[in-house]
């Protein structure tokens, strides 16, 4: 009968025009999420979202889902109130339990909102396919749009229904639900998905690898919150008015049937269990970082250290076994470091089980904040033996990182991408001196191309399950492994990128760009600094989950955004995709030499990059081409800037609204970086007497530059450049020429 009741309640909703209005609003609000204005709302925090998935799915569906939650919540309250106010309830209550009607109503609303979500997903599917083009994956579209648009709505429906059941008052219900909604914008809940009950956090996600760790967390948190909302609703049903009594007297009447509370309690238990045992975040206390790193005391020696690690890419878990021969052990307790979330199944010494425990790293604030825990193995006073540790689990993100950045930059195990930090791969023993370098065997899916610290691993065995075992010999491996294409640019340089970019790379000859840039820069400025001494250079595209770019010894990594359609179409950086990509590769030189960025944007690596790109294309395609697509464009931009009223009268900017001020400042900064500075460099070139002299100045500037842009050095300034060139600021002033 209940199913029948739900059926007719659903039919009743589908006959109501308001239902279709709500559906249309749902679609409309999602559509608004595609507009620049809404995107601006989510980028105000300083993030620049460039992944196609974020732009075309996460933000629109996140916004649409939030709006839909409020729309359906409002509707469910008004519908429940209508039945009471119009007197339909008296008639319906005579025939059936009021609770059954409430259950039927909530199920019907959830079904209708599900239909609306499906329509919304289908409605925007063609648009997303068109906009995301080769970056579109149906699986990710469905999984992300669904989790962003539906669970929040269901939780809100449950909460709204519950609030109305308790208060029997539209105003009170609305007020409470709005207060609860607004509370999600507080700093406390800004990053915490478990406090964001109808607004999921907006993440910058991977187009190519799916960001499965984030996806799992999103689903998990939504399910946990849904159970909580459901428990609240099921409890609220006990407040439904009985015999025209008040809320609490009605509750007291319902208390006479304690068994009826079981579903509410079960839901509450499910929510509590999901909260308590969630595997995603390490719950160690957040403490201030300090300068003191704990040095584990010497505990003995070890040799023949070997770890074998396997992955469950569906669940995101790892399973491993670490073996080592202990020698000269001097302590009764052996300390290992292990990632929070990884459990130890057994520890044996020559087959004999040893006691062990996992504790917070109280001695070291920094490790505590990094989500590293202590594994203490009790040594039965033995000096030697074969130690085996079997471990596994879901690597947790550190609590401090979660509190500051949300669920980002976490370790991740997925079908298309695996990223694991040192203590994730295998327990580390800081107090044991390894006589010989350890061997770590990583078994990744057959189509993966793994690396540790950017270095290629040695392929060993193809396993029966299709995975391939790769071997690395690192004390502290950091694994990046994805489904990538591998192009050997030349004998020295290797370029790894996601399969999705295959066509873009081929069509735009991006691999050639690397060759062109490296050939030019090596010849004119000197060898790539961080690659000095390395056997080769591996340029690897990594998942957006980890953001940005960086370099190690012979290793360059850059996130997906460097190859994104927006990045490759940025005409500030080059005349076409090939040249824009050249610009990014040139950053390996000018970005990494520690170029100081001036406040006015008149001195930055960007300007040096654009100038270098111009020089490369001039050499490659001739002066006419370079003049047309670079110099003329810069000149036009600067002319345009000089004509701008606010550029000429910056004193008036301050009276504009903040958003206008920011837009003008951004535009000024952009033109300074990408047009004015290259023109100034061109002027310097002219003053110096030609390209050869200019190259000599730039070579010296590059040589003086720091190896690492993150080492805290200030970097080369405009004054450094002028000093080397023997010029003054006035010498390179361009406004009078223009």
């Amino acid at each position: 009968m209940r199913a029948k009741l739900m059926g007719v309640e659903l039919k009743r909703l589908l006959m109501n025009r308001k239902t279709y209005l709500a559906m249309m609003l749902n679609i409309l609000m999602t559509g608004l999420g595609f507009t620049a204005y809404v995107k601006g709302m989510f980028t105000a925090e300083g993030f620049e979202y460039t992944s196609s998935l974020t732009n075309n799915v996460i933000i629109p569906f996140g916004f649409g889902g939030f709006a839909a939650a409020l729309i359906w919540g409002l509707y469910v309250i008004s519908d429940a109130d209508r039945a009471v106010k119009k007197g339909a309830e008296e008639m319906t209550a005579a025939y059936t339990d009021e609770k059954a009607v409430s259950h039927a109503r909530i199920c019907a609303f959830m079904t209708v909102s599900l239909i609306a979500a499906l329509i919304c997903m289908l409605f925007f599917l063609p648009l997303c396919i068109k906009r995301m083009d080769y970056l579109f994956t149906l699986k990710w579209y469905i999984l992300y749009s669904f989790v962003y648009i539906l669970p929040g709505v269901w939780i809100t429906i449950a909460v709204c229904c519950g609030l109305y059941n308790i208060s029997r008052n539209v105003s009170v219900s609305l007020l409470v639900v709005l207060l609860l909604t607004i509370s999600q914008f507080s700093p406390l809940s800004e990053k915490d998905l478990f406090l964001r009950w109808n607004i999921p956090c907006i993440f910058e996600l991977s187009d190519c690898y799916g960001s499965v760790s984030v996806l799992r967390f999103l689903y998990y948190s939504r399910i946990a919150l849904f159970f909580l909302g459901l428990a609240f609703y099921l409890l609220s049903v006990k407040f439904i008015r009985k015999y025209r009594l008040g809320a609490f007297k009605s509750f007291a009447v319902n208390l006479r049937k304690p068994l009826a509370f079981i579903p509410a309690l079960m839901s509450l238990c499910a929510a509590v269990l999901l909260f308590v045992f969630e595997p995603f975040v390490d719950h160690s206390p957040v403490v201030p970082y300090d300068d003191n790193w704990y040095d584990a005391p010497y505990q003995g020696n070890c040799k023949n250290c070997m770890a074998d690690v396997r992955f469950n890419t569906l669940l995101g878990t790892i399973k491993g076994e670490l073996n080592m021969d202990l020698t000269e052990v001097v302590r009764r307790e052996i300390l290992f470091e292990i990632r929070s979330g990884i459990k130890v199944k057994s520890v044996t010494l020559d087959g004999e089980k040893l006691e062990h425990s996992i504790e917070y790293y109280a001695e070291d604030n920094n490790k505590l904040n990094l989500g590293v825990k202590k594994l203490i193995v009790k040594n039965p006073d033995r000096k030697t033996g074969r130690l085996t540790i079997v471990y596994g689990g879901y690597p947790a993100i550190s609590n401090s990182l979660y509190r500051t950045s949300g669920y980002t930059f976490c370790d991740s195990v997925g079908r298309a991408y695996i990223k694991l930090d040192d203590v994730c791969v295998a327990p580390q023993a800081p107090g044991l001196a390894s006589v010989k370098e350890p061997v770590v065997r990583i078994n990744v899916p057959g189509d993966h191309c793994p690396s540790s610290w950017g270095k290629a691993l040695k392929k060993t065995v193809e396993n029966e399950d299709g995975s391939i075992c790769w071997e690395c010999r690192e004390y502290v491996p950091i694994i990046e492994s994805g489904v990538n294409n591998t192009d050997g640019v030349d004998g020295v340089t290797e370029f790894l990128y996601a399969k999705k970019y295959e066509k873009t790379v081929r069509d735009n000859k991006l691999d050639e760009s690397i060759k062109d840039v490296m050939g030019y820069c090596d010849e004119h400025y000197g060898e790539l600094k961080f690659a000095e001494g390395a056997e080769g250079i591996r340029i690897q595209q990594i998942s957006n989950d980890y953001g940005g770019g960086g370099a190690g010894e012979g290793y360059v990594y850059m996130d997906e955004n460097f190859l994104s359609p927006q990045a490759l179409s940025d005409d500030n950086k080059g005349g076409n995709k090939n040249e824009t990509f050249m610009h990014e590769i040139i950053h390996l030189y000018w970005g990494d030499m520690g170029c100081a960025v001036s406040d006015d944007g008149l001195w930055s690596a960007e300007g040096l990059d654009v100038y270098t790109t111009y020089r490369i294309v001039k050499e490659k395609y001739g002066e006419l081409y370079a003049k047309k697509y670079y110099v003329d464009k810069w000149t036009e931009e600067v002319k345009h800037q000089n004509r701008n009223f606010y550029f000429r009268h910056p004193e008036y900017i301050d009276i504009l609204p903040e958003s206008y001020q920011a837009a003008i400042k951004n535009s000024v900064g952009s033109i300074n970086k990408y047009s004015r500075m290259p023109l100034m460099l061109l002027k310097a070139e002219e003053k110096l007497g030609g390209e050869e002299a200019m190259d000599e100045v730039l070579r010296q500037l590059y040589e003086n530059g720091s190896f690492n842009q993150w080492d805290g050095s200030e970097g080369q300034t405009m004054q450094d450049f002028l000093d080397i060139a023997g010029l003054t600021k006035e010498d390179i002033e361009i406004d009078q020429d223009i």
Binding site: K85, G87, E90, M91
Partner: protein, 292 residues
């Protein structure tokens, strides 16, 4: 089916006493009409009998067991038309009845068809409830109440808003249905009760004043109903209730009920309306004397 209302008193949370020590029994088959002025406690009594309210004192038994302990049993056997009710305007007549059928646990669609036939709604089946007239909405209300041939039908002023022809038709339908079930009907229209009810309850001020057959109620009024031609300056006889006034050439033909009729008043044969008014009149008088 049997319902026993035993010494039921109902006091609302506002402190208003709606029923006072009310007792009566209903046994199937029976057609019981309940008469009483506005605020007498009819609707409260009906809500108590549908488990919509909980009595302050006393108890209501359904087949000798507490009604509130067997709400599901009651709900599955009930047809109820409240005095005021709202319908879901967005649904068509058929959809609304289908919705109510689901609530009542009726699986057979023929029941919906039958109820529509009985209430003359067959040609209105696809019309949205919101587009119906007041009388048509009342018919939809009646249709949902009779649907499923419930064992107990509680109808609170079901013929309000219906034209005389429809009123007669419906009271005949209720009468037919009462041959196999309890029909408990509240109305202001005394003629309806006289025409179809085999038992009448008169309620006033929360108390049952009379419980018996309509003929029994009329019997009590013999020699207490009369008429006379009243001139303009004539004083109204003491302690009487005017039933009707008709203007004639000789004066106003006035029909009254009173405990003691003056000599100049001609005795008349009482109707149920006279009897009802006499019953209420006596009660008011007793109250006044009590207060005095």
């Amino acid at each position: 089916m049997k319902i026993d209302v035993k010494n039921v008193t109902m006091i609302y949370s506002s402190g208003r006493k709606a029923l006072s020590d009310v007792s009566f029994s209903l046994k199937s088959p029976e057609f019981v009409g309940i008469l009483g002025p506005n605020g007498a406690g009819k609707s409260t009594l009906m809500k108590l009998m549908t488990a919509g309210l909980k009595e302050t004192k006393g108890e209501i038994l359904l087949d000798d067991k507490k009604l509130l302990d067997q709400e599901q049993k009651l709900k599955s056997r009930l047809g109820y038309l409240p005095q005021t009710f709202g319908l879901f305007d967005e649904l068509t007549v058929w959809q609304f009845l289908d919705y109510m059928a689901a609530l009542k646990g009726i699986k057979d669609k023929a029941e919906i068809e039958w109820a529509m036939e009985q209430t003359g709604l067959v040609d209105r089946r696809k019309i949205r409830v919101g587009n119906l007239s007041g009388g048509q909405k009342q018919r939809v209300g009646i249709a949902q109440a009779i649907m499923g041939h419930p064992e107990l039908m509680i109808l609170d002023e079901p013929t309000v808003g219906l034209d005389p022809e429809e009123r007669v038709r419906f009271r005949n339908i209720f009468s037919e249905m009462s041959s196999e079930r309890i029909v408990f009907l509240s109305t202001h229209i005394v003629d309806d009760v006289q025409a179809v009810c085999n038992r009448v309850l008169v309620i006033y001020g929360g108390s049952i004043l009379f419980d018996g057959s309509p003929a029994g109620l009329i019997e009590q009024t013999v020699d207490h109903v009369g008429s006379y031609i009243r001139k303009v300056d004539d004083i109204l006889p003491k302690d009487c209730e005017i039933v009707s006034k008709i203007n004639t050439r000789n004066g106003v033909l006035t029909r009254i009920v009173a405990k003691e009729l003056p000599d100049y008043v001609d005795r008349c044969e009482p109707s149920l309306e006279d009897a009802y008014l006499y019953c209420i009149h006596n009660s008011v008088k007793r109250e006044d004397e009590h207060e005095g």
